[in-house]
């Protein structure tokens, strides 16, 4: 087994102080390192050093990190990347704080993805010995961990193939123009493990290098409503939900952080398996795929990317 999960999301924010306040007080992540203009945070149920990195200056995504199981997986991914034909470079231990050596890859959609095999172990906030089920001092939404990221691309077909060929992800769901044009993906959801998706891609003009959103995992529908209530208290702009996606069946709220990056709180979904037949969505049912309940596609879903 190679890639285990999306390990970190490194994004740009316009104002680091506002971002810190939002990600700690509203989302409920804990700050583990503060370098002034760059801060590192983790969720209460994550054991590695960090999963969210905020860097001051602009908006959008700087890079994503995927954790692999063993150091040898890095070489394997490097070899496959070269065969595939994407630009890679080796990174050394410590280039990213508390993170092992690894490989940096430039996707055909121009996003930077890093793979690493080790990160300083901090342990979850409930510990690993006779743990309680949640920490007593959760703040705001109290999100336990990050979940997935949705990246934009002018042409996502090659990047989709990168994730299946090099990362050994499998195709969970896919949006196509219609059943006669299945070869061109308009959007794509891919997984390495059993979660609904570890990465998703969406196609559009000028989307290369852009972030549609990244998501925080929540347990269930009640937690989604609770998150919405906290967002109301903290005046967080909401774009969609609380609702459910037809695609992935996830319960969801799409909202924006103080820099205007879209985030999601995402709960439930289903257990995906490697041998699962790919679910196909046709473009005419996109609204139902995104917002299953209202079937109204917000006019900004496909236009607001950072």
């Amino acid at each position: 087994m190679g890639v285990i999960r999306l390990g970190y999301v490194h994004i740009r924010v316009t104002d680091i102080e506002e971002a810190k306040r939002h990600y700690t007080q509203t989302v409920g992540f804990r700050m583990v390192k503060d370098d002034g203009k760059t801060v590192y945070l983790k969720g209460w149920d994550e054991w590695d050093h960090h999963s969210v990195v905020l860097e001051e200056g602009g908006v959008g995504v700087i890079k994503l990190g995927y954790k692999v199981n063993r150091a040898e997986d890095i070489e394997d991914i490097e070899r496959k990347s070269q065969t595939f034909g994407v630009t890679t470079e080796r990174m050394s231990r410590g280039e990213n704080t508390d993170t092992s050596d690894g490989l940096r890859i430039i996707l055909p959609t121009s996003h930077v993805v890093e793979v690493y095999h080790d990160m300083t172990l901090l342990g979850s906030d409930v510990g690993a010995i006779n743990p309680d089920v949640f920490p007593r001092d959760l703040i705001g939404i109290g999100a336990p961990r990050i979940d997935h990221a949705l990246l934009g691309g002018d042409n996502i077909a090659t990047t989709e193939r990168f994730f299946t060929d090099v990362f050994d992800f499998y195709q969970v769901e896919r949006l196509v123009p219609d059943l006669d044009h299945m070869e061109t993906p308009l959007a794509s959801w891919l997984a390495g493990g059993n979660r609904g998706h570890d990465v998703a891609l969406i196609q559009g003009d000028g989307y290369d290098g852009k972030l549609h959103h990244f998501a925080f995992h929540l347990q269930d529908w009640n937690d989604i409503l609770h998150a919405g209530q906290i967002m109301a208290m903290d005046d967080v702009p909401i774009e969609l939900g609380p609702s459910q996606h037809g695609i992935t069946r996830g319960r969801t709220i799409y909202y924006f952080d103080p820099a205007g990056n879209r985030n999601e709180v995402f709960a439930d979904g289903y257990v995906a398996q490697r041998d699962r037949p790919t679910t196909i969505w046709t473009a005419d049912k996109l609204a139902k795929g995104i917002d299953y309940v209202t079937r109204n596609l917000s006019e900004t879903f496909a236009t607001a990317l950072t």
């Binding site: 316009t14 908006v59 774009e239 924006f256 952080d257 205007g260 990056n261 900004t300 607001a304 950072t306």
Partner: protein, 152 residues
Amino acid sequence: MTTITIDGTGLVLLARDGETITDTIHRAGLSLNEACRRGGCGLCRVQLIHGEVEFNRTVCEQALPSDQREVGITLACRAVPRGDITIAVPAQRLRVIVPLLTTLTSTPQPAAASEGDPPEVEVRPFARVPVHRNRRKEGEKRATTRAVAATG
């Protein structure tokens, strides 16, 4: 009171101190095509054709490139008027969604809005918006006051 005139619509909105253009637009029961309301997505761009605004936060190059700033395009969700301003918004991006709030917040009261219909909004793509300075006519203020009094 600071006013935001939306060119070509007959709408003159009364802005509160420190309020962004977006805040005033929402309070007036209008909706502007926008998403993040946090200066990141760049969707809420409007053309400033008269007056001055200042941003209440840093606005990055990606959300609003400098060549657009130079021609007076601004982000409604981050721009706070410094004195009276006039903006232009392409018609397809501005809608009246709560006419009641529009009549309470705008002046002079557009005749159409008082009957519950959205006011006619002229189509003006950015490229064709003419830049006029001091286009507000004498006597407009008085018309304003009368309209407000009339709605009581």
